[in-house]
Symmetry: C2
Subunit: 407 residues, 2 copies
């Protein structure tokens, strides 16, 4: 498996485009298109929030009915959530307009939206945007990157990943783009990630690979504990690589899943590290657990703790908050057996042993915690299972962005 440059256009037969449609913001691209030269097998996971945005409902119907999508239209100005019947009508008209401009079936258009909740989307601007997208779509590297930029809201960086690997003698590619960066506490999936692959694989293999891997990647990140109304992960496979068909449970399936996991974990960490106002990616690893479930609950509780995240912002080795967050996680463990370490590019330091503090150097701890990627490792010393979760520090930037996001 090799990591390559690019995103959603890295796999064969996919094109992308970005456009300035002025949905809500001016002077920036705010619509994106992913287009496949052939209809795709598709898998998707969606928010578990009871309040689901209209495009989430739209996409869920397409995925559940095994319709073969050929395009995804995304806007990053308005979430189209809490918009009632008019919101669903916007989805329908968007799909119809895109289908006409792209010359494809109107049932084969998936839709993604992110932005302000509650506002209605101006349909005339969407239509103009679709026209621009259809005219400028291309399979080149730059078009994929332009699309990745167009779906950003408060993200500070575009997020792409791509890998290539072999199935038998055939090269297969998975590419992807995603956006964060607030209201990130995915439950089943995260705020808008789009994956494309040219692999040939069975519908079952595609769906299982995505749903299983989402549990260990997007579902293990949190920026602010707020599970969005719009969380969507879509994986499109157009079969253009021409490899021997990948079936569920085979060695080829494992190869595909490993590559998929790499892409998903890369994007999940980018989402966490670029959380609103973040200055650091904050990783929590729990090792020595009895079960993977226990490790996951503990790790996620650490990265979700506001107090711990504020301490990370201050480069403060306030390990008591970490043990406290483990304590209220709901998972059982013995606090008096825990060993805790801080680690980053600046080194690794053991802070507590058997639940009480060692005579460690605060200076060294602060040095370790001052890097842009920091890890806390908690060894609960009860078994051999482990899990990781990713979050970010809680800073003034988060308040700046969210105390007045709408204006």
């Amino acid at each position: 498996m090799e990591m390559i440059e690019g995103g959603v256009t890295a796999a064969k037969g996919f094109q992308a485009a970005a456009a300035e449609a002025g949905i809500k913001y001016q002077g920036r691209t705010d619509m994106a298109l992913i287009y496949s030269e052939k209809p795709c097998k598709a898998a998707g996971t969606f928010t578990t929030n009871v309040v689901k945005a209209a495009p989430v409902k739209w996409d869920q119907a397409i995925i559940e009915e095994n319709i073969k999508p050929q395009a995804v239209i995304v806007n990053s100005g308005i979430a189209n959530a809490c918009t009632g019947e008019e919101g669903m009508k916007v989805c329908k008209e968007t799909a119809k307009a895109a289908a006409r401009r792209l010359g494809i079936d109107k049932h084969s258009v998936l839709i993604g939206s992110t932005g302000v909740i509650g506002m209605q989307i101006p349909m005339d601007r969407v239509k103009e945007g679709i026209l621009k997208l259809a005219e400028s779509k291309s399979a080149d590297f730059e078009s994929g990157t332009a699309a990745a930029r167009a779906i950003m809201t408060t993200d500070t960086e575009k997020k792409e990943a791509a890998v290539t690997f072999k199935i038998g003698e055939t090269a297969v590619t998975i590419g992807a783009m995603a956006k964060g960066s607030g209201m990130i506490h995915p439950n089943m999936c995260t705020m808008l990630a789009f994956l494309t692959t040219d692999a040939v694989l069975s519908g079952k293999a595609l769906k299982r690979a995505l749903s299983e891997d989402v549990e260990d990647t997007y579902n293990m990140i949190s920026v602010d504990g707020d599970t969005s109304t719009n969380d969507t992960v879509l994986l499109l496979a157009n079969g253009r690589a021409g490899n021997k068909k990948i079936r569920y449970g085979t060695p080829e399936y494992e190869t595909f899943k490993e590559a998929l996991h790499f892409v998903n974990e890369t994007l999940a960490k980018k989402l966490a590290g670029d959380g609103e106002g973040a200055t650091a990616l904050f990783e929590a690893k729990v090792v020595g657990a009895r079960t993977k479930e226990q490790a996951k609950i503990l790790a996620k509780s650490i990265v979700c703790s506001n107090l711990t995240k504020a301490a990370i912002a201050g480069h403060d080795a306030n390990w008591g908050r970490i043990l406290c967050a483990m304590g209220y996680s709901g998972a059982e463990f013995d606090p008096e057996k825990v060993d805790l370490f801080f680690e980053s590019a600046a080194g690794k330091l053991k802070i507590i042993e058997n639940g009480t503090a060692l005579d460690y150097s605060e200076e060294k701890a602060t040095e370790i915690l001052s890097r842009p990627e920091v890890t806390v490792i908690a060894d609960v010393r009860e078994g051999s299972e482990e899990a990781a979760a990713w979050g970010c520090d809680l800073t003034h930037g988060y308040i700046d962005i969210n105390a007045d996001y709408r204006s």
Copy 2:
């Protein structure tokens, strides 16, 4: 029932004191004493965090064994959590020293601690503090207030409440003090609240009244989602009022519980409104619910949402975040039936109806949200149950306090 001035010394037969012991901070009082002239019946509720501070374990043992306490010693510098065997030894020595100075049984001393996790408490300073407390204790109004000040950490105001009411012809009083103000997301009880009453009542009535009421008061507040290692609510009854004994389930029990609820709700709201960095008390009322449980889950999810709390800080009527928080709460409801209102001393405004936005005045909404106490009312229109939860806005102040709390 009448609200009166004062706190833990309001009820007959209780004394209090404060002292500068220099446990961690200098130039301020950091130890407090509550002393009863007679041994008390006692009830307590404690943190559900797996990581429990030593004084929590100490007090739990006393309450569970129905030992009759006569004093409470509190320090506000060091939490005595994650301190292993030495932490328990500190509790034992504290109780012993206090018992000797006060001339009471060493098993009758309850202990409260709040502050930094993981540090050991300097026992020599505690002993000096106890000496000062024993020498200066008094039943007057000012001593209760001095104790309420001495238990503050990042609180900006001392928190006291007291009421007097009649049982038959006899006047009975409940007084209390509490402290917040970070790591506040109580589960069974909150960070240090101490209640005293001169009521005569059965042990069952005392324990049930406290445990039932805590569910509707302290357990319905949140500052930052972090359930502390030290949460403790203690209720001491010395029987000095001489009223006819209050038994569980009688009309007198209801009278007592109503008064207790008033004191608890008053303190709970003070804790929420004085959350770290807070500029506003943020109340969420859910009405029209099918069950009280549903209403409580929805209300608590709203006041716990970082995004909603940041919007309140910005006086921004970002109602989409509120519906979103209700959506991921875990409680079922129909988002397309919800009506939502904002209310404060500046007025009341209907924002959404049947889940979609009305054409309301943003200016008026901002005016309502600019007051120091703001309420959101969500009517889910499914029944007649309701519940309230209390939190605060999320501000730069929270980051300032917590990015570098230890230094």
